[in-house]
Symmetry: C2
Subunit: 216 residues, 2 copies
């Protein structure tokens, strides 16, 4: 403990949100009040960004025809991914991999255009703008969980075709279709574990000391 630490209750709340956040695929429609949606986006916007470039852009999809077109893109990629998975094709096709039509709010998160002008912290690692956007999405995810709302990050789409659909300029890039809204229940464990797709590995398997492969 130190003078900057939060209270035990505050710390417990943060660890609770981290532990209970789930990548949701099952939504129950409904809606999100505008002030709540703004609060969630403001949480995203408070993320760190390399060189303070704030590379995140969020598109709120409200037109039904556009939502339908996005669902179509995801469906096309779902089938192509199934084929690429080979012997696990049929298992994959049984999974629910998106909630594009069922969620209360559909957002697309994208990287800005003109990114090459920013070299602060990106000269050797240009992909750090994606890292910043990802931190913003994780903020949104945790805040949504605390508000009792589910979120799903869908990456099953062709980015260029989604960019074209949304009128993005050259250099901008969509990286997430975010399904957001009320859910019937939160998965007690990651859906891919619950569905028997795969098992989670323990933290110990991810930790090294000094050199790759050495015990910490």
């Amino acid at each position: 403990m130190n003078e900057w630490a939060y209270s035990a209750e505050e710390r417990a709340a943060i660890y609770r949100a981290i532990a209970e956040r789930r990548d949701m695929r099952h939504f129950s429609g409904g809606e999100i009040a505008p002030e709540l949606l703004t609060r969630l986006l403001q949480a995203a916007h408070q993320a760190p960004s390399v060189g303070l470039m704030q590379p995140w852009r969020f598109l709120r999809i409200t037109r039904p025809a556009l939502r339908e077109a996005i669902a179509g893109l995801v469906e096309e990629e779902r089938l192509l991914t199934a084929d690429a998975l080979g012997e696990r094709r049929d298992d994959f096709l049984r999974l629910k991999v998106e909630g594009v039509r069922d969620c209360a709010e559909l957002l697309v998160a994208a990287l800005k255009d003109g990114r090459e002008a920013h070299v602060f912290g990106r000269r050797t690692l240009p992909e750090m703008d994606l890292a910043s956007l990802s931190c913003a999405i994780q903020n949104l995810w945790l805040a949504a969980r605390a508000e009792g709302l589910g979120m799903g990050w869908v990456s099953l789409f062709d980015p260029q075709r989604l960019a074209d659909l949304l009128g993005m300029p050259a250099g901008a890039k969509p990286v997430a279709i975010l399904c957001l809204g009320p859910v019937p229940a939160f998965y007690p464990e990651p859906m891919l574990v619950g569905e028997g797709w795969t098992q989670a590995q323990p933290l110990e398997a991810m930790l090294f000391g000094n050199q790759w492969g050495e015990r910490p």
Copy 2:
């Protein structure tokens, strides 16, 4: 409000951590108790990952000579970045951009090797493993803030040279040098704002409705 929402106090704690998290460069040495460090890494490990591939690997640097070598890599890149910034070179060189020697714990976060075997959610967007690792780092960041510890994400390094220094196999890639530990104080605003390097843009500038450039 709905049945899954947290209490007002819990929600406030989460928004507090999101708002008060800072990318820190100033540390006051000290140490982190082993069980606290494990708790923070466990928070990172509870992040979402595409296809549950859990691509994150963390190296805890405890050898002084290795920490010094990492500081040297960062210093080399700091000078190269300064040159690449052109007319802002001297302003950049006045900024403190890392706390590698001053922080209690030095971690390197990296992507796993053998990543190409995972196509679930990555067929068209292979960089989604970096997105997952970034969510893990954001979890760690928020938990650290709640514990009263600062964290800085340093991306000023040549990734191949750092990979070589840490004995990483082909295909693995370091993406963050994480400085973690007690700080004299948390910046009231992002350090780059406080130092007059740049201004933050408001959320409104990042939001579109349906099409890029359209008002939400």
